[in-house]
């Protein structure tokens, strides 16, 4: 196995393109190294992106943020303004693992690992985040919900790397929230995740995005759930409609982590609770 640590995104993409065997981008390694140790994969090439300066920074303000792909969770948590404007995205990133894992894990690694239960993905989708994708020859920008195509698979081509995540312009009176259900209090994997991002005007929800994790092969953007609360003051009836829409959107599996019935029910519960928190963060009063 070869290990490379290039200084530019372009060089990283070129290395990936040239490798004939199995090549992987190495960000925090908290998924990749675990899988290598378990003998689940044996890469021929690892391209470490942590030496690429551009990927190590968070830049921006209310007109939009760019979060580098190699920024670890702990730096996302410590950023001065990011958490004020995007508390839901930050709390999702901060939920990953433990202190040790936070020092390494990245939101892009979380996305590209393509687990249906990844915590930051619903929050990023609800936020309307975009991924900047760099290939050997071209760059493109894609909505986050277009990256993951199924458990363990993405729409990225062999040489493509995500360089950064872009969060859109933040309107005033906006708020987001992410909640997950785990049987323990930490060090666990989401049985259901729900993210809500919304903007209010005089208490009325003008726009909203609702996303769910761990209830289908990929994280879901649930338009019906957003429609259920847009135009409302998040009264009980609209919350119930949102919960019903969340449950209806679920297409989960029965497995060791939860039953279909359980996930479907709890998706509604968490959707409702996340919406309530986001609404309050946006300045709404119920």
């Amino acid at each position: 196995m070869r290990y490379e640590a290039p200084n530019t995104t372009k060089a990283a993409a070129t290395l990936l393109a040239a490798e004939k065997g199995k090549a992987f981008v190495l960000a925090g390694g908290t998924d990749l190294l675990v899988r290598m140790k378990a003998g689940m994969l044996e890469p021929d090439l690892l391209v470490d992106i942590k030496q690429i300066d551009k990927m190590r920074t968070i830049a921006g303000n209310s007109t939009g943020f760019t979060i580098g792909a190699a920024v670890p969770g702990v730096e996302i948590g410590e950023h001065k303004t990011l958490g004020k404007l995007w508390p839901g995205v930050v709390e999702a990133a901060q939920l990953i693992g433990s202190d040790q894992v936070q020092g390494r894990c990245t939101i892009v690694g979380n996305l590209c690992n393509a687990s249906p239960a990844a915590d930051t993905v619903p929050a990023l989708i609800a936020a309307g985040a975009k991924a900047v994708v760099v290939g050997k020859d071209k760059r493109r920008t894609m909505a986050v919900e277009k990256i993951v195509t199924g458990p363990g698979s993405t729409s990225l081509t062999k040489s493509e790397i995500i360089e950064s995540i872009k969060l859109p312009k933040r309107d005033r009176n906006s708020g987001d929230a992410y909640l997950r259900f785990i049987p323990r209090t930490e060090m666990d994997i989401a049985v259901v995740g729900a993210a809500v991002n919304l903007t209010v005007s005089r208490g009325v929800i003008k726009s909203a995005r609702v996303a769910l994790g761990a209830v289908a092969p990929t994280a879901l953007l649930v338009k019906e759930a957003a429609d259920a609360i847009i135009g409302s003051k998040l009264d009980d009836a609209s919350l119930e409609r949102l919960a019903a829409a969340c449950s209806a959107a679920c297409n989960p599996i029965d497995d060791k982590r939860g039953t279909i019935h359980y996930r479907t029910k709890v998706a509604g519960v968490l959707g409702r609770r996340a919406a309530t928190i986001a609404y309050e963060r946006a300045g709404g009063k119920r």
Partner: protein, 752 residues
Amino acid sequence: MTDSTSFTNQKFKVIGQRVRRQDGMDKVTGRAKYGADAVAPGQLVGVILRSPHAHAKIKKIDTSRAEKLKGVKAVITSKDLPDYTNGNRDLLSMLENCMARGRALYDGHAVAAIAAVDASTARKALKLIKVDYKILPHVTDVDAAMQEDAPVIHDWVRTIGVEPAPSKASNVSMRSEFGHGDVDAGFAKADVIIEKSYKTEQTHQGYIEPHACLASMSPDGSGELWVTTQGHFAYRNWCAQLLGLDMSKLKVTSSEIGGGFGGKTHIWMEPIALALSRKANRPVKLVMSREEVFRASGPTSSTSIDVKIGATKDGRIVAATSECRYQGGAFPGAWAVIGAMTSFACYDLENVKTVGYEVVCNRPKVAAYRAPSAPMASFATESTVDLVAEALGMDPVDFRILNAAKEGTRASYGPTYGPIGIGPTLEAVKKHPHMRAKLKKNQGRGMACGFWFNFGGQTSCTINVAADGTVNLSVGTIDVGGSRSSLSMICAEELGISYEQVRTHIGDTAALAHNDMTDGSRGTFASGMAAIIAARRTKEVLKLRAATAWEIPVEDVDWQAGYAVALGDKHSNLEPLSLADIAANTENTGGPVAGHNEFVADGAGVSFASHICDVEVDPETGSTRVIRYTVIQDAGKAIHPDYVEGQFQGGAAQGIGWALNEEYIYGEDGRLQNPGFLDYRIPVCSDLPFIDTQILEIPNPNHPYGVRGVGETSIVPPLAAVGNAVSNAVGVRMTHVPMSPPRILAALEAEA
């Protein structure tokens, strides 16, 4: 006097203090050597190939390609483990569990093993072994395995304990029965009868250190084994028997242990390491992965239990029965027997009958887990006891106090109790401020009691006095919870010296006579009693040495506060001799000073505990958080209170994990779905509140200091304490453990 083990109510200087732990420094600095930390020149890496099938005939194993791989030094299958067991079916089962003999009996059952120069070569070689399986029907559920049409796993298993003896093989290897009185007559008198069925899922001890050993066999038939174990003498004996060695030629040294809780009372892969070493003629290190630990060590039984309790209006239990069906894994065990014995051990009952069924299933062979089998039986009993109290409109604590066993009670499993602690722990519950603390919405409080036998067993130890007057105590019970420090305290107490002057070590199998394992909460009880006697004998030797030095009769010498003192006016010119004085002069006074004791440590005192638990349940997700927890237990005498409290807290923590989230999950294919700590959920720190403890000291009359074992009882009450609390929080009676969020939500929905 020297050898008496009766309780004497002596006054203590060292016992009861919270001294600094002997093994603490090495453990917190990483110096301590655990099972995987030994190295030997030229050592090889061992790996094991395991069955992916729950039940399969092994038609053929082709190891030829693996053998040819460069760096592979030995490949073994069951052919390399010839049967030396001489018709002893239990021993043969042990061997067969270490390595399948013609049939894989569970997912994870070892079928072949490799020793190679490094891990990557060994793993590569593993993939080159070809096993031709014929898949056979399997069964993993205890109730399903008892059905007429269940696949019969062993054609040689006949149910012991039924009349007439069955002629047909089945998965039920034994029926046991305990009790007294006439339960039918008792139930006829009852005003209230509650009958309920319960299930508990299989759990693992969850020790952090996986099984690990370093084995070295010499061509001359001698060998050494460095291993993480709860009982190196037992490991020595079993390994020698299974490999056809003289026991005395196999020296087993126990490493530091990173948790065992019963799981390291049994051999799983040590004979394989020895056989690999024998074949390769090199030392072999074998370390299980976490996945292997889950799939192929010894978790505790899953169970299915029926309990029936009848009581009169005035709150007296008039009859009680239980039927305990315990899944024992791929080989016959004796686990339901303990369930049946412990079911009603807390109560004073006129009419009681308990029955146990041992059931073989396609799962790993069950091993002991802290008070093995008692927590499940207690869950069933204590849940039902709450239901009876509720039906009678009585306070559950008062109801238990009214029916609690006491001195003179005939236990449901046979013997008559001496002085015991169940009543006092219940009275302490009543008085505890926890019982009066306010509860909020969706919160509930529950309590439950528990019992454990405790054990004494064969024990030997040696005290050696060094030339500077400091002391080594060598014991043969490995230290799982601070026992070296507790035993040093005991030795210091008896010799009248300071704790710092004594250091305790675990002797290897060649250095001491046989010792039973550290199980049954016996380490500090049994080795402590042995150390008291050995210390008193050491004092006799010290007095003799002093008498020789002084040239006076030994009858004129006494041992006082660490000094030999010449008694009487005629010796008033003789200055007392310290331990150091005597030790410095042994060359001239009769030789080195030591004291031994070899005996059976009889008289382990039974132990009782009562726990109080507050939970908060989220009615929309079924998620349960334990918000307050109190353990009240009788320790007899707490030698080192920190370690006693640690045992109380540890058992409660494990019990809470079991109650709420831990379980073996098998797929339809009979494969274990969650062999890792991500999906086998032991509690993390933030899942638990601080666990409050209260030590009661009701002396065990059979121990010089009154000590009872304390290690196990604390895991017995939590399942029911949590279950009763959940029931009081949200009004659903949980009958299936773990009470995971999906199960609680389903129960809430069923109720609605």
